[in-house]
Symmetry: C2
Subunit: 551 residues, 2 copies
C-alpha cells in the first residue's frame, strides 16, 4: 500500500501537547518542572551555539579533528548516513560484549550515556538499549590523541556514536554499567547523529523511587521526572532501560498469546474498527462521519468474533485496538488499548474455554519468568516487584462471596458485582489460602453481566461467565454466549435492550450457530499487573486517556 | 477489561445494510436477487411453520422422535447447549476421518451441507470447515428406524448436528465430498442448532466460474451469488470452503510475517490509531471528536514507528488497522485495511532493509506453498490460479524504465511515477526475463516520493526508496527516511510542506536519531495477489469501502 504523505496538521498535532493546566497533579511534577526549566535553559544555550556555528563563527563544540592531528582518521563526525555504500564492517551489540572477546577489536554503535573528561583521559558510558559499557580514552599519541579525547568528551549525551575499541577486562568490576567485567579501550570514535539539549536527563528518568528515598534520607535531593513530562517526550522516555524492557515484555506477551492459541487450533482474524452507528446510540463510543454515514469506532470485536464463529472459523483470536470514549481517569483505564480477544466454539461446557485460558496464562507466566528473566530484572531495577505465582484455580462466585464474608466483609451483596476494593481483598485472601496470584472466578450473577451471557442451566440467577484475576485485579472478562436467537431476544427484553436495535445481531444466530464462548484481555493490563507497575500508562507506548491524545 | 454492553444502535447498524441503490451494479446480482427472493419466500414459510409450532400446532418439521420408537434415544434435537455438564465424549474432526478408522464408531459435529432422502434411506453430506463426508441412514429397525430417517432428512441445510456413526470404506470413491474414501453409517443424529431459511445456497456460493461456464455451454443455468449479497450475509458467505481457506491463509501470512521478523530481532509494537488533528488538515483522513479535541484516525503508523526507532527500539513491526478516507472504488483499495509495517535502524545502507524484505517474502512464499498447500488447493478449486514464483531480484528504477522503453513503452517518463498499466507491463517483462513473480524496484525519483524520503547521496534526483511487486502489482512501499532534522526541514520546504505544521515531527530527530528505513505492506493485498483473487474484498473478512460500512 502506498505510504501517506506525512504532512498537513496530522503530525504537528499528534505531537503538540494539550494545555498542561488541564492535567492531573503529579507529586513529582514540581521537581520535574525545575529540571525541565534547567533543560530549557540549556537548550536555549545550545541552540544559540548552533546558530553561531551556522553563521560561520567558530563553534564551541569540536566536530572534526584538527588537520594536523596524525590520528585524525580515527575520529570526527561521519557524513550523514545516506546509503553511500556498504563497507562490510560488523557491529557488535553492547549486550554481547564479554571477557571471551578480550583483546579483540570491536565496533559498537550506541548512545553517549554519560561522559567524564579528566585532563588527558575520558570515560564514556555507551548505552545500547538496556546494556551499558564503559569506554576509556587516554591520550598516548599512539592510538589516542589529545584532540580525540577533546572530541569525545564534547559529544553531547544521547548522541549516537560508533566506537571502535579493544575489549579489556578491568581489574575491578565496573559499577554503574550493565557490563561489569569488560570495558572498551577506544581506538576510534565518530558521531553518527548528535543530540541537541535534552528536556530531561535519562539517568533521572531511569532512577528508582528507592534510590531517591535513600538519597533523601542522606539529605540529598535526586531529581526525578514526572509522568507528564515523560509522556510529552515519550520517544526520549522510552530509552530508559526499564521502558526498553517493558515493551519487550509487551511484545513477548503478544507472542505467547498467539503461539499458545495457534497451538490450540486458533486462527488469527482481523475485524473492522469502523462500524456503522447512529449518533444517538450507545455510551462511551467515539463517533465519526464515514463518507456521509454515521459511524463509530468498535468498543470491542464482540459481534465480529461471534460472527466468525457463526461462519465456522471454530476458534479465533484477534489482537487489535479497542476504543472506549470513557471519562475514566484511573490507573487502569485507557481510551485506546490493545485487546487480546478470543472466541471459540464449545461442544458442551464453558469449562472448555477456561481450559484454554488457563493454558494461555500458564504459558504467559512461565514464558516471561524463564525466557524474559533478564527483562524482568531490568524492570525490577527501577520498579521492584515479585514475580507473580501461577496455579490454576477456579472458584465460583458464591465461593468468592463466602470467602469475603468470612474474611471481614460480612455485608457483601451475594448477587452484586465486586468493586475494586472487594476484588483486591479477594485476591489477597486467595493468595494467602491457595498461594496463587492468578485465579478464575466463574458463575457470576446474571444481573451483573451483559444480556448476551448464557444463563446457567440449573439456576438462571447465575450465568456461565467468568472473570480472571492477577494480583486481585480483573484482567479478563468472558462468558459462554447465548447462541439461540429466541433466548437472546428474551434476554435482551429482560435486560431492557430494545430488540429492534439489535435485530440483525440476533439474526446472525438463525442460520445454525455453534455454542460458543470467549474472553477479552487487555494487553497493557497483563504487563502492568504482572510487573505490578501500578499505572497502565507505563505499559502503553503512547497512552490515550481523556486528557492525552499526544504524542 | 470489562466487556461492553452490546446494545444501543451499535450492533443494529453494524449489520444493517446501506440502501442497495447506492451500490455498484454486479452482473451476477440479478440472478442472485431472484435466489434471494425465493429464499425470502421460503424464510417466510419457515417462520410461519415455526410460529405454528410455537402455538402448539403440530409442526411440519420433526424435531423429536415419536414416543413409541424403540430407537428414540438415538436421535432428536438436543436441549440448547448451556454447559449442563461434561460427558467426556470425544468429537472427531471430519477432516481427520480416514480408512484407518474403518469400523470404528465416531462422533462428528458439522453442518448439514446437503440432504437426499429416498424412501427408507437418507444420504447426508456433513460439512466441517473445508471438509465434507457422506453420512448414510438406512432404516433397518435395528440401528436406524424410519422415524430416524425422517428426522434426518427434515433437518434444514446449514443446521449444526452431532452425527454418531461407524466409519466405512465405500466400494467406489464418493464424488463431491472431500472425504472420498470413507463414509459414515449413521447410528445417531441430533440437531445442535437449526438453521432458518438461507438467503442463498452455500453450494451456489462455492461454485467456480469455470463450472458455471461449462454448464452454460451445456445449456444449463447454474446460479451464482453476487458480491454484495455475499457481503451482506458475510457470516454465511464465509462458510464456503474457499473462504475458509482464504482466511486461514491470511492468518498464516500474519504468522509468517511475525515469526520471520522476530527471528530477525524485531519486536512487536502497538501505536495509537487515535491521533490529534485539526479539522482543516490533510486529505483522506477520518476525523472525529476526542473529548472535545479534534482528532483523526491514523493513516499509517509512520510517525510512531519512526519514534520507536528514535526511542532505541532498533527493529519494530506492527500489525494494525490503517484508515484511509479515500473515494477509491477499485479492486485493490479499502478504507480500512491491515497494515503490516516494519521499521529498522540501519548501519549504512537501505539494502539492509531490502535484505529483511526479501527474507520476509521468501518465508511467506515458501511457507504458504509448503505448509498451506491444502488451503491453496481449496482456494484454487473455486478460484483457479498458479502458485507465484519467488526469486530475489532488485532492479533500479532507471533499469525498470529501460525495460519498459524497450518493451513497447518508448515514451515512459524517466522521472515520473508508474501507473497501474506500466506496473503490470513491467511485472510481465520481469516474469518473462527473470522468471519471478516477485521483485523489488528501488531508487525511485525523489519527486514521486514523500518529503521524508532520503535522497540518494550520489544524485538527489533519485531517492533511497523502493516498491515491492507481486504479479506486477505494488504490495510494499518503503524507503530510508531522513533522520537529520536540518535535511528534513529542507526537504519539507522543497516539497511545499509547511514546516511549522510538522515542527514536532522534525524535533523528534533532534535528540540523536538512528539512520533508519522501513516499509508498509497491505495484508489483504498479499493474500489477494498471491492467490490472484482479483478483488481485495475477497481477502478482507468484513471489507470497508466508500459504499460499505456493514456488516
Amino acid at each position: 500500500m502506498s505510504e501517506p504523505e506525512v504532512g498537513g496538521l496530522t503530525i504537528e498535532d499528534s505531537q503538540s501537547s494539550l494545555a498542561s493546566s488541564t492535567r492531573e497533579k503529579d507529586p513529582k511534577e514540581v521537581e520535574a518542572k525545575k529540571a525541565a526549566k534547567a533543560a530549557e535553559k540549556a537548550a536555549k544555550e545550545a541552540a544559540k551555539a548552533e546558530r553561531a556555528a551556522q553563521r560561520g563563527v567558530k563553534a564551541a563544540i569540536m566536530t572534526q579533528p584538527e588537520a594536523d592531528d596524525p590520528l585524525k582518521d580515527a575520529y570526527g563526525d561521519y557524513p550523514m548516513v545516506q546509503s553511500q555504500g556498504q563497507t562490510g564492517r560488523k557491529w557488535t551489540h553492547v549486550e554481547d560484549l564479554s571477557p571471551a572477546l578480550v583483546d579483540q577489536k570491536v565496533l559498537v554503535r550506541g548512545r553517549i550515556h554519560t561522559t567524564r573528561g579528566k585532563g588527558k583521559s575520558a570515560f564514556l558510558v555507551i548505552r545500547q538499549r538496556t546494556a551499558t559499557v564503559q569506554a576509556i580514552l587516554f591520550a598516548d599519541d599512539t592510538t589516542v590523541s589529545k584532540g580525540m579525547v577533546k572530541y569525545a568528551t564534547q559529544i553531547s549525551k544521547e548522541s549516537i556514536v560508533d566506537v571502535e575499541g579493544v575489549v579489556k577486562v578491568p581489574a575491578n568490576p565496573i559499577e554503574g554499567c550493565s557490563q561489569k567485567d569488560v570495558e572498551l579501550q577506544v581506538t576510534g570514535i565518530r558521531a553518527v547523529s548528535r543530540a541537541a539539549a535534552l528536556p530531561f536527563e535519562l539517568v533521572d528518568a531511569a532512577r528508582s523511587e528507592e534510590e531517591v528515598k535513600a538519597a533523601a534520607e542522606r539529605g540529598e535531593i535526586m531529581p526525578t521526572v514526572g509522568q507528564d513530562l515523560r509522556l510529552d517526550n515519550r520517544f526520549l522516555d522510552l530509552r530508559t532501560p526499564a521502558n526498553q524492557a517493558i515493551f519487550k515484555l509487551q511484545s513477548a506477551v503478544c507472542q505467547l498469546f498467539k503461539s499458545t492459541l495457534l497451538a490450540e487450533g486458533f486462527q488469527e482474524i482481523h475485524t473492522p474498527k469502523l462500524i456503522a452507528g447512529a449518533s444517538e446510540g450507545g455510551a462511551a463510543v467515539f463517533r465519526l462521519d464515514y463518507m456521509g454515514t454515521p459511524a463509530c469506532l468498535a468498543q470491542s470485536p464482540q459481534l465480529y468474533k461471534q460472527m466468525a464463529i457463526c461462519a465456522d472459523c471454530d476458534r479465533v483470536f484477534e489482537v487489535g485496538p479497542v476504543f472506549r470514549a470513557e471519562q475514566s481517569y484511573t490507573h487502569r483505564h485507557l481510551c485506546e488499548f490493545m485487546g487480546l480477544d478470543l472466541e471459540m466454539a464449545i461442544h458442551e461446557h464453558y469449562f472448555e474455554v477456561l481450559d484454554v485460558i488457563e493454558k494461555l496464562f500458564e504459558a504467559i507466566f512461565n514464558g516471561l519468568a524463564t525466557t524474559y528473566a533478564k527483562e524482568l530484572a531490568v524492570v525490577a531495577t527501577q520498579y521492584p516487584f515479585d514475580i507473580p505465582t501461577f496455579k490454576p484455580l477456579r472458584l465460583t462466585f458464591p465461593e468468592g462471596i463466602a470467602m469475603l464474608r468470612e474474611g471481614g466483609y460480612p455485608d457483601v451483596d451475594p448477587l452484586g458485582d465486586l468493586n475494586t476494593e472487594l476484588e483486591r481483598a479477594l485476591g489477597r485472601m486467595v493468595k494467602e489460602k491457595y498461594g496463587t496470584d492468578f485465579f478464575i472466578l466463574h458463575r457470576y450473577p446474571s444481573a451483573v453481566r451483559p444480556f448476551y451471557t448464557m444463563p446457567c442451566s440449573d439456576d438462571p440467577t447465575y450465568s456461565n461467565s467468568y472473570d480472571v484475576f492477577i494480583r486481585g485485579e480483573e484482567i479478563i472478562s468472558g462468558a459462554q454466549r447465548v447462541h439461540d436467537a429466541d433466548l437472546l431476544t428474551e434476554r435482551a427484553k429482560a435486560c431492557g435492550v430494545p430488540v429492534e436495535t439489535i435485530q440483525s445481531y440476533i439474526d446472525s444466530f438463525k442460520l445454525g450457530a455453534p455454542p460458543h464462548g470467549g474472553a477479552g484481555v487487555g494487553l497493557e493490563r497483563v504487563v502492568m499487573l504482572y510487573c505490578a507497575l501500578g499505572n497502565i500508562r507505563k505499559t502503553s507506548m503512547f497512552p490515550r486517556d481523556p486528557k492525552r491524545l499526544t504524542p
